[in-house]
Amino acid sequence: MEFSAEAARLIAVGLAMGIGTIGPGIGIGMIGKAAMEALGRNPEARGPIATNMILAIAFAEAVAIYVLIVAILLIFVL
């Protein structure tokens, strides 16, 4: 079976984005869940909870952005 570089690249990009965003997706969901639970226990601490949740989500999302950069590089540059 002939396996061209173009086909390999497309498969690689699909796999990269598909597998690479599983982790951050689950991570961000868990952070949101913990934030909701904390908010339910203590509705008065809404400010600090929201701030820290955004911070933690930024860290988790950055990993997904790394995967996106690799995918864009694969498709359009290499």
Binding site: P48, I54, L55, A62, I65, I72
Partner: protein, 301 residues
């Protein structure tokens, strides 16, 4: 015309425009196997990671021009807001005072009252620069006005150099705050040999057991310090890629939206882009503040 009737007109009009764009545009054309309507023909998104040079090689890039425009907008707004300072603020001065107070409270929440004054300039400048870059890029004309086939203006956040610059500024600022508040002892975060020195002292005295415990913890703390050094270096790459990736992905998304369903999808993504620009600016600024706070208060062990 009552409000209900206006709402009905708007909804029906919106549905009609959406259907026309969907059916007549590229998606409908691909499904039905015909050419898209000539009014709605758009080329597929063409992504360039490198900034273009509209005036040739010896002139600035389009992202540089956009960042100059951002600086101009910020400077003009600040001058207008502080022109005739009144005790009871109105208009632009009111908005500026609100921004200053909000930022001040936000930073105070993160770093405490006594350091808030030192953190405020750099953190809020980073925030204002990133958010103005992101929001100005939503104006019509960015990436569509072309000179010599190259867009004249392009969001400065989509050029890897600008997030890298901001990340380096942030890293230098964090190290500066560390050295400023703790002097040369700040280097102890990266190489902490106090416990090892205590271990050597214990061995010299002959207390073998305490010496072994201190040696174990000493090696552990040295390792932790090296990991801290690595983390500081990786932080620069992480900051720059976070901002660059979010902004580039946003512009790619809008480009793809214009290609797929021309008149409707970009409007939805514009709102998302505005929100993401603000969120990324807040994240960049607050992460700078948090890491600066960590440098100032590191290691109570």
């Amino acid at each position: 015309m009552s409000k209900g009737r206006i709402a009905v007109f708007l909804v029906v009009g919106g549905v009609l425009v959406s259907a026309a764009s969907f059916i007549g545009g590229s998606v409908g054309a691909a499904i039905a196997g015909r050419e898209p309507v000539p009014l709605l023909v758009v080329s597929p998104p063409h992504i360039e990671l490198e900034p273009g040079r509209p005036f040739g090689y010896s002139f600035p890039t389009n992202t540089m021009l956009a960042s100059w425009l951002t600086c101009l907008v910020l400077i003009v707004l600040s001058l207008l807001a502080t022109r005739r300072v009144q005790l009871v603020p109105t208009g632009l001065q009111n908005a500026a005072e609100y921004l200053v107070e909000f930022g001040s409270n936000f930073i105070e929440q993160m770093v405490g009252k006594e350091h808030e004054r030192h953190f405020f300039p750099v953190v809020v400048t980073i925030f204002l620069f990133v958010v103005t870059n992101a929001w100005l890029a939503l104006l019509p004309g960015y990436e569509s006005l072309r000179v010599n086939g190259v867009p004249l203006l392009r969001s400065a956040n989509t050029d890897i150099n600008v997030p890298l610059m901001l990340a380096l500024v942030s890293a230098f600022f964090v190290e500066y705050m560390g050295f400023r508040s703790r002097g040369i002892a700040y280097l102890r975060t990266f190489l902490d040999v106090r416990r090892l020195a205590a271990a050597v002292r214990n061995f010299a005295k002959g207390c073998l057991r305490e010496g072994l415990v201190d040696a174990f913890y000493g090696v552990l703390y040295v390792f932790v310090g090296l990991m801290e050094l690595l983390s500081h270096c990786v932080r620069v790459a992480s900051f720059s890629f976070r901002l660059f990736g979010n902004m580039t992905a946003g512009s790619v998304l809008i480009g793809a939206g214009i290609f797929l369903v021309p008149l409707v999808l970009p409007s939805v993504f514009y709102g998302l882009e505005a929100l993401f620009g603000l969120v990324q600016a807040v994240i960049f600024a607050s992460l700078t503040a948090v890491f600066g706070y960590g440098a100032v208060y590191y290691g109570e062990h």
